[in-house]
Amino acid sequence: MDFDFIQRFAPMYVKAAGLTLRIGAIGILLSLAVGVLCCLARYFRVPVLRQIAAAYIELARNTPLLVQLFFLYFGLPKVGVKLSAEACAITGLTFLGGAYMAEALRSGLEAVDKAQAESGMCLGLTTLQNLRFVILPQALATAIPAIGANAIFLIKETSVFSAVALADLMYVAKDLIGMYYKTDEALLMLTVAYLALLLPLSIAFSLLERRLRYAGFGNSVQGQ
């Protein structure tokens, strides 16, 4: 093991980790937004939008991210739409993540007892107020474990973006292996970098999940 090598190139990994984290974070937030919209279109049975959402979810979940990314990066320029590598990465991640988040939120919404919505209606709440104060808080609490799993999955998926020359963690590792043949060191640092990013996130979601469970969230079955 060449520790000088590790020391020398560690800053490159730190920089790349920043890029991975930034693209991952933006992608996750946009995914959540797309997921909420799709999920609401289906929940409220909005005509047309609901079918579009369903079709999009199937398309996004049943094609590999790498294929989606190639479509954005190599396909779109042929019809005159040219996106930067970073824009492609964020768009691709959102396209994939939106579908997964929509499904996670849907499972949360479906777990909320219908009587809860009726109780809110009986208090004279408007549909939006009912959604905001009664239904979504409970749905989100139920969906938190799935949302957390999706967030971690999406950050890991960013590794495919090295294929369109985005200087993320995976790209740096491949680059170093190609230049110096220090495979062991490069891959070790890559593993450590991903763990350093994802372990805290994973632990944070576990804690959040446990807190919500203790607070009685996500428990739509009321005891007698």
Binding site: Q116, C122, L125, A215
Partner: protein, 254 residues
């Protein structure tokens, strides 16, 4: 008491998947009146209540609240701000404490100042014996306590009419009493209530009128003294007899 009806139900009809639950229901109630609806399971009691605040859409007939039609009304939200409803399963919001449950409607739907609503809520909680539970979560309460909170939650909206749908059906016997006492209290204060219940003794005590619903129609509509002691129809007599028990060891007949 005002003579103009607060609620009028005319020839109400509601079918589910082709089978009739309500065939032809008509009655009117005045302000301050307490009507108890009784009848065998599946006779449409709950459906009747759910139609009155628009949780179900009637298939025929009309419902008037203060003289204005509410069936098919565009603004059901406004109707529901005047018609409170409490269910068998309490349905408190599990993610809010008692105070959060109580203030949500008045603050968000009625736009009342939070401080004022909280002060009122504290008084109301004290009245139903729950002064120290304002910051408990619903899952920390007993069934009877939850149902009292649900009643207070509905009352803080100051409804013109309160609908109670078998609110003691899920409770242990000793908890039934504490909930029914609150309802009796409301009746004494002149609250207009339409109550579905299987507690016949309670019905007799609280009702100004009893409506006996059977097969989707009103078979009897009478003061409790007459309905419980001299019912007019055989069907009502049979129904009331189902609440009586004959002694297992009968004295020898002579």
């Amino acid at each position: 008491m005002n003579d103009k009806p607060i609620l009028e139900v005319r020839h109400l009809r509601k079918h589910f998947d082709g089978t009739g639950v309500l065939e032809d229901v008509s009655f009117a109630m005045r302000e301050g009146e307490v009507i108890v609806v009784v009848g065998p399971s599946g006779c449409g009691k709950s459906t009747l209540l759910r139609c009155i605040n628009g949780l179900e859409r009637p298939d025929g007939g009309e419902i008037l609240l203060d003289g204005a039609r509410i069936d098919g009304a565009a603004d059901l939200v406004k109707v529901r701000r005047q018609v409170g409803m409490v269910f068998q399963s309490y349905d408190l919001f599990p993610h809010m404490d008692v105070m959060g449950n109580l203030t949500l409607g008045p603050v968000q739907a009625l736009k009342q100042p939070r401080a004022q609503v909280e002060a009122e809520a504290e008084k109301a909680l004290a009245r139903v014996g729950l002064a120290d539970r304002a910051h408990a979560l619903p899952r920390q309460l007993s069934g009877g306590q939850k149902q009292r909170v649900a009643l207070v939650r509905a009352m803080l909206m100051h409804p013109r009419l309160l609908l109670l749908d078998e609110i003691t059906a899920a409770l242990d016997p000793e908890m039934v009493r504490e909930v029914l006492n609150v309802v009796l209290d409301l009746a004494r204060d002149g609250m207009t209530m339409l109550i579905v219940t299987h507690e016949m003794r309670f019905a007799e005590a609280v009702a100004d009128r009893v409506i006996f619903l059977e097969g989707g129609s009103v078979l009897e509509d009478a003061p409790p003294a007459r309905f419980f002691h001299a019912p007019e129809t055989d069907r009502a007599r049979q129904f009331l007899a189902s609440f009586e028990f004959d002694a297992v060891r009968q004295p020898p007949k002579d």
